[in-house]
C-alpha cells in the first residue's frame, strides 16, 4: 500500500502512536492519581530542577496535583474527544454532503443555506454558547464539537461530490438501471472516501484544540477530569512563578495536533496521487 510508505504518514502516525500509548497506559504509567491534591507541595518544578522532588517527575500544579499524571490522563480525554467528535462530525457532514451534491436542486440549496448560516458563527463562540446550554462533561463537549464542525466536512465534500456526480460514468450507471442508492454507494462514495479520511484526521487535531479551549475557559469536560486546557488555565495564573507548568500541556497539545496534521497531509498527498494515477495514463 503506497500510502503507508509516505514519510509524512509514518511520522504523523508515530507521533500519534506515542500519544495513544500514553492515553491507554495512563493508569499504569502515571505515578499518582491525577486528581489527588497535596497542598503541601504546590507549584513544584520538575524533578531535575532545584526545588523539585523525585516523586513528582514533572512538578505539580497550584493544588499540588502531579503534572505528569495529569498530562497522561489528559491524553485520554483529548483522544477520546478527538476520535468521537471527528467521527460524529464526519458522519453527519458526509451524509449531508452526498445528499446535497448528488441530488442538487432544492436539497442542495437548503443545505448550502444551512451551512452559510452555521458558518456565520465563529466556531469558538458557537461552542461556548452550546456549552452554556449543554453543561459540562465529556459527552457534552463531543456533542458541541459535532454540532459546530459538521459544516467543515460538508463544505469541502459537497464540492467533491458534485464533481464526481457530473462524471459520465455516474450517468451511465443510471442508464443501465442502477437506483440512486446503488449509484451513490457503488460509484460516488468510493471516489469521495479518500477525502473523508484526510478530513477526519485534520478534524481530530481541531477537536483537540477546541476541547482545550473549552477546558481553559472552564466549560469543558468538567473539573473532575484532567484536561490539558485546564492545566493551561491553572498554570497561567502562576506563570511568573512556574513557567514550566504552562509549557508542558502546550507541548502535549502541539505534539498531538502536529501528529494529526502531518498524518492528514501525508494521507492527502498519497491518496491524491493514487487517484491521478488511476485516472491518468
Amino acid at each position: 500500500m503506497r500510502w503507508a510508505r509516505s514519510g509524512r504518514v509514518i511520522i504523523g502516525g508515530l507521533l500519534l502512536l506515542v500519544v495513544l500509548i500514553c492515553a491507554i497506559a495512563a493508569p499504569w504509567l502515571a505515578p499518582h492519581d491525577p486528581n489527588e491534591q497535596d497542598l503541601l507541595s504546590i507549584l513544584l518544578p520538575p524533578a531535575w530542577m532545584s526545588g523539585g522532588e523525585a516523586t513528582f517527575p514533572l512538578g505539580t500544579d497550584s493544588l499540588g496535583r502531579c503534572a505528569l499524571s495529569r498530562l497522561l490522563f489528559g491524553a485520554r480525554t483529548a483522544l477520546m474527544v478527538a476520535i468521537c467528535a471527528a467521527a460524529g462530525a464526519g458522519a453527519i457532514g458526509f451524509a449531508l454532503a452526498h445528499v446535497a451534491g448528488y441530488l442538487g436542486g432544492r436539497a442542495d440549496w437548503l443545505i448550502g443555506r444551512a451551512i452559510e448560516v452555521w458558518m456565520s458563527f465563529p466556531p469558538v463562540v458557537l461552542s461556548l454558547i452550546l456549552m452554556v446550554g449543554l453543561g459540562t462533561g465529556t459527552d457534552k463537549v463531543i456533542l458541541a464539537i459535532v454540532l459546530v464542525d459538521w459544516t467543515r466536512f460538508c463544505r469541502v465534500l459537497r464540492a467533491e461530490v458534485r464533481t464526481v456526480s457530473r462524471k459520465d460514468y455516474v450517468s451511465a450507471a443510471r442508464l443501465i438501471g442502477a437506483s440512486h442508492w446503488q449509484v451513490l454507494t457503488g460509484e460516488v462514495m468510493p471516489a469521495t472516501l479518500p477525502l473523508v479520511i484526510t478530513l477526519v484526521s485534520l478534524e481530530m487535531g481541531i477537536a483537540v484544540v477546541v476541547e482545550a479551549i473549552l477546558s481553559f475557559v472552564g466549560l469543558g469536560v468538567g473539573a473532575n477530569q484532567p484536561a490539558w486546557g485546564q492545566m493551561i488555565a491553572d498554570a497561567r495564573q502562576n506563570v511568573a512563578a512556574a513557567p514550566i507548568g504552562l509549557l508542558l500541556p502546550m507541548a502535549a497539545i502541539f505534539l498531538c495536533v502536529a501528529g494529526f496534521n502531518v498524518l492528514g497531509d501525508g494521507l492527502r498527498r498519497s491518496l491524491d496521487v493514487r487517484q491521478t494515477e488511476l485516472r491518468g495514463a
Binding site: R113, E116, V117, M119, S120, F121, P122, P123, V124, V125, L128, I129, M131, V132, G133, G205, V209, A212, I213, F216, V217, G218, L219, I232, R236, V239, A240, P243, L246, L247, M250, I253, F254, V257, A258, F260, N261, V262, D265
Partner: protein, 329 residues
C-alpha cells in the same frame, strides 16, 4: 452582487432568531437570576411577566427586535447595565484588534507564500513545507500563551495585560483607540496602545498566516501550469513580469476566498486572546456572560460576532467580484 447584500439581511435575522430560540429553551431562569435570592415565587413570576418570558418564543423575538431598533439590547443580569452599552464599549476594541491582526496575518501570509513559491524545486521547499505544517499545528491561543511567556515573562519587553498603561486616560471619540489617540494628538497614548496590542495581534497573526501562505503558494503553482502563462512566455515576456502581471492577479483570487473564511475564524479567535491578555473587548465580555449564564449579553455579543462575520464574508465576495472579471457576463 446586490442579491448577496439583500440575502444577507434575512440570514442575519435568521441567525439571531436561532440564537434567541436556542437560549430561550435552555433551563435557565433569567427572571430568577435578575432578582435577589430572597425573592418570592410571586415576585419571580411577576418579573417573568415583566420581561415577557411567558409569551411564545417568536413573540419574544419580535419584542427583542423592536428593542434593538431603539438600541436596547436587554439588561445584563450580572452587571446592572444595559447590554447595549457594554457592547458599545467592547466591540470597537475587538474590531480594532482583529483588523490589526489581519494586517499582520496578511503580510506574513503573502510574504511567506511568495517565499515558499520562490524556493520551489530546491531542497528548501521540503523544509518550508515542514515548517509551515508545524506552524499550522499551533493554534492561535497557544501562540498567545507562547508569546506571553517569551516576550512578557522571560524577556519582558512588551506588556501583556490590558489595553493601556495604568494611569493613562482614554481619549473619547469613535471607540477605536488608535484613531482617537491620533485625532487627539496624544502620542503617548498611541504608543502605549500599540505596545499593548503588539502581542495579541502578533499571536493572532501567527495563527492565521500559515494557511494563507500555503494557499497562495499552491494557487501560484496551479496558475503556472495554465496555458496563458506559457503563451506569454513564448511572446518573450520576462519571468518577473509574468509573475507580477499575469500570475499574481490570478493566484490572488482563491487566496482571497480563503482569507475571507480565515478572517471569520480570526475574529472568533479574538475571544480567547482577549481572555489571555486581559484585553477589554467583547471576548472577555462573552466569557464572563457565559460563566454567569447572562443570556441578554450572550445574545447581544453572539449577534455581534455573527454580524461581523457576515459583513466580512460580504466584503470578501465584493472584492472577489471586483477582481475577477469572469463573474460578469
Amino acid at each position: 452582487m446586490i442579491r448577496r447584500l439583500i440575502v444577507s439581511v434575512p440570514i442575519l435575522a435568521l441567525v439571531s432568531f436561532l440564537l434567541f430560540a436556542a437560549l430561550r429553551v435552555l433551563p435557565i431562569d433569567v427572571a430568577a437570576m435578575s432578582l435577589p435570592p430572597t425573592a418570592t415565587l410571586v415576585e419571580v413570576e411577576a418579573k417573568r411577566h415583566d420581561l415577557g418570558l411567558d409569551r411564545p418564543i417568536p413573540a419574544q423575538f419580535l419584542i427583542w427586535l423592536d428593542g434593538v431598533r431603539h438600541g436596547a439590547f436587554g439588561q445584563s443580569v450580572a452587571m446592572r447595565r444595559d447590554a447595549g452599552s457594554l457592547l458599545a464599549q467592547g466591540l470597537p476594541t475587538t474590531i480594532e484588534l482583529a483588523l490589526c491582526a489581519m494586517a499582520v496575518a496578511t503580510m506574513l501570509g503573502l510574504g511567506g507564500g511568495l517565499l515558499l513559491f520562490a524556493v520551489r524545486g530546491t531542497w528548501l521547499e521540503g523544509l518550508g513545507d515542514l515548517i509551515s505544517t508545524l506552524l499550522m499545528s499551533v493554534p492561535d491561543f497557544m501562540w498567545a500563551l507562547l508569546l506571553l511567556l517569551v516576550f512578557g515573562v522571560l524577556v519582558p519587553v512588551l506588556p501583556f495585560v490590558g489595553r493601556l498603561d495604568p494611569g493613562l486616560v482614554r481619549p473619547g471619540g469613535t471607540g477605536f483607540l488608535l484613531l482617537d489617540a491620533m485625532l487627539a494628538g496624544r502620542m503617548d497614548v498611541l504608543w502605549s496602545a500599540l505596545r499593548h496590542m503588539a502581542l495579541p495581534a502578533l499571536a493572532l497573526g501567527m495563527g492565521f498566516a500559515p494557511p494563507i501562505a500555503r494557499v497562495l503558494r499552491s494557487s501560484l503553482l496551479d496558475v503556472y501550469h495554465d496555458d496563458y502563462m506559457r503563451q506569454a512566455r513564448l511572446r518573450g515576456l520576462g519571468e518577473t513580469r509574468l509573475l507580477l502581471r499575469h500570475a499574481l492577479p490570478n493566484a490572488v483570487l482563491p487566496t482571497l476566498a480563503l482569507m475571507g473564511v480565515q478572517f471569520g475564524f480570526l475574529f472568533g479567535g479574538t475571544l480567547l486572546v482577549e481572555v489571555i491578555y486581559g484585553y477589554p473587548g467583547i471576548g472577555n465580555l462573552m466569557v464572563d456572560a457565559v460563566r454567569n449564564a447572562d443570556l441578554p449579553v450572550i445574545q447581544a455579543v453572539g449577534m455581534s460576532y455573527c454580524a461581523v462575520v457576515i459583513g466580512i464574508s460580504l466584503a470578501t465576495d465584493a472584492l472577489h467580484h471586483l477582481l475577477d472579471p469572469r463573474g460578469r457576463p
